[in-house]
């Protein structure tokens, strides 16, 4: 098959319990941008059963067509039925590009599909562009534990598939004037397709038990002032999906349990985000957190040594800044 037989950007729209995941809406938005460049359509593929969301929203975000496969076998994600349905649609429609959100579902489904249709798949992309000369996709992604970025191409095979990291592509402003089409496609399943049995479905949003496992730490030092004021750090931690930790001074003062101590005689942590609140930055504390990916330090004292280790230094009062932050930070699912 020649490349010219493949056309359009297909976006796999992941749903859970009948609701479309945010990442898929981000990808429809991005898909629209790519399709405009490639001069083709965006086709949003929804696999599910008894959808609760209004699928027109996908059209408002930029889809020209919503392809809906509504079958009871697709109510809850299982690899084989989803793969079978998606492959059937893809072989029929021959999209040039397929975008899938790099969720735990997307990263299970996309490789299976790509192997079945014998095409290339690029994982966890943080940037998607069109090569002006070849009109091939340029798919950029982190590798080596995030230490390098690689731009990947899939020059000879079609469709060009990629999974895309959630939260990276910008959600478009919905345009309610946009028109599109919702097509229903039937897929027939055999009992052999249902090759796993779901015994139990459990929902839980949990906070990590140990500070060493947390992705985000909001850490308090003596500058927090008193044990009651640690509560505002807890709210911030919950908002960011993380945990509270502390310097030794705070632990010794009894404001928080020793399990939460970061430092030379405490724990060594390397979260994605470490917010040091009212921590001076003594060498014993730095020893426990300086490898954190992104360090934000808030302290009234502009000469505090913590600022030498921080990526973002804010001279100010923690207890004035946290409330302002809480006003503008989006609510986290843990808070519901």
């Amino acid at each position: 098959m020649k490349h010219t037989d493949y056309k359009d950007v297909m976006v796999f729209c992941e749903q859970r319990e009948g609701r479309i995941e945010k990442v898929s809406k981000e990808l429809v938005s991005k898909g629209r941008e790519l399709a405009d460049n490639l001069e083709c359509c965006v086709r949003a593929l929804v696999l599910g059963h008894d959808m609760k969301d209004d699928l027109n929203e996908l059209i408002h975000l930029g889809a020209d067509e919503v392809i809906l496969v509504d079958e009871k076998e697709l109510a809850v994600f299982m690899t084989e039925p989803y793969t079978k349905a998606m492959v059937q649609v893809v072989l029929d429609r021959k999209p040039d590009v397929i975008l899938v959100g790099a969720s735990t579902i997307g990263r299970d489904l996309a490789p299976r599909v790509s192997a079945r249709i014998n095409t290339g798949l690029t994982a966890d992309c943080t940037s998607l562009e069109v090569d002006e000369e070849t009109k091939n996709m340029l798919m950029t992604r982190p590798a080596f534990g995030g230490n390098i970025m690689a731009t990947i191409i899939c020059p000879e095979h079609r469709p060009q598939m990629s999974t895309v990291r959630p939260g990276v592509m910008t959600l478009a402003e919905p345009n309610t004037d946009r028109i599109g089409v919702i097509s229903k496609v039937p897929v027939k399943f055999e009992t052999t397709d249902m090759n796993i049995e779901i015994l139990e479905v459990v929902k839980e949003t949990k906070q990590k038990a140990n500070i060493e496992d947390a992705n985000v730490l909001v850490s308090g030092g003596r500058g927090v002032g008193n044990p009651d004021k640690m509560k505002s750090l807890e709210s911030l931690a919950l908002r960011l999906g993380g945990n509270v930790s502390a310097s030794r001074a705070v632990v010794d003062a009894g404001w928080i349990d020793r399990n939460n101590q970061v430092g030379q005689t405490g724990k060594t942590v390397r979260p994605d985000l470490y917010i040091a609140c009212g921590i001076s930055g003594a060498i014993q504390h730095l020893a426990g957190m300086e490898e954190s990916e992104f360090i934000v330090a808030i302290n009234k004292d502009e000469t505090a040594p913590i600022f030498d280790a921080a990526d973002l230094s804010i001279v100010g009062d923690v207890h004035k800044i946290i409330p302002e932050l809480m006003k503008i930070l989006p609510i986290h699912e843990n808070e519901q």
């Binding site: 060498i283 014993q284 030498d308």
Partner: protein, 379 residues
Amino acid sequence: MNFELGQEYVLLRKMYRSFAENEVKPLAEEVDEEERFPVETVEKMKRFGFFGIPFPKEYGGAGADNLAYAMAVEELSKVCGTTGVIVSAHTSLCAAPIYEFGTEEQKQKFLVPLAKGEKLGAFGLTEAGAGTDAAGQQTRAVLDGDEWVIDGSKIFITNAGYADTYIVMAMTDKSQGTRGISAFIVDINTPGFSIGKKEKKMGIRGSATCELIFENCRIPKENLLGKVGMGFKIAMKTLDGGRVGIAAQALGLAQGALDETVTYVKERKQFGRSISKFQNTQFQLADMDTRTEAARLLVYKAARYKDAKKSFSNEAAMAKLFASEAAMEVTTKAVQLHGGYGYTREYPVERMMRDAKITEIYEGTSEVQRMVVSANLLK
């Protein structure tokens, strides 16, 4: 002469290091502070073969060698001097003499459980009046029918109270001098054998160092190790092997102190920059590293010679002498380079310095090692 270690040693070191970091290091401070014998660590080490490293599989050992054993003591001592000596005293001073001098029955009965780690070992030579002058044994053993009866006491015995099996030296014929000393295997559960006073020590505070008391202690005559009158020779040969272990402990302490110091000097800032930028700091570190590396070569050579069944007494003495003095020097410099913080218990270097001191004293003082080395030169 190949200075590269084979891949199996590289992998062994990786395992030792991972075990030491994850299982031993977190307890080191508490073990020292509370003078607590780390029973839980001993339990874990047992499972992975730490107590029978140089002994053949047929005797319950790991089927490795003395180099592998020295490396284990080194890596454990890097994070905890106490844990290193527990393994060293057990392996070199108790299991090894049974392996080297025991009958087949004795090996099956005593060595196998020791090598498997099911039982812990200890060695009793030193007495109140017999330290460096080891021949001055007062503890006596008299043959009475089918039993030896032991009376006397030992002091400063490592692993005492936690060990099940004790190699004990006693005088069997005073008129023969050193040829009148014999070696015995004594089980902890023998009536007439009890553990006395526990010493409060400067360092290796988690190591149990106690008195052994024998009062009409009767053991089966099969528990004589080697022949009557062979005890002194057994003790001296045993100490040769023990010196490799202690040299490895000293090496580990030196390396551990050096590693901590390198991390600290990079982080610590004075006069607007990291103190690692000052030439004094750099030169001190260079000296510490060079001495530690030299110690390593001497320790590994002694271990290799033992594995090759070559005479290694002189090499062991040199290794123990040099490594223990290097450990004292390196740990002292480590405290100095940490400044005031190094003197506090917040940082591990003061403990390493306290732990290092004993390596210059036990299993033959540095003075004894010098006697061995010079005697070898001047013979």
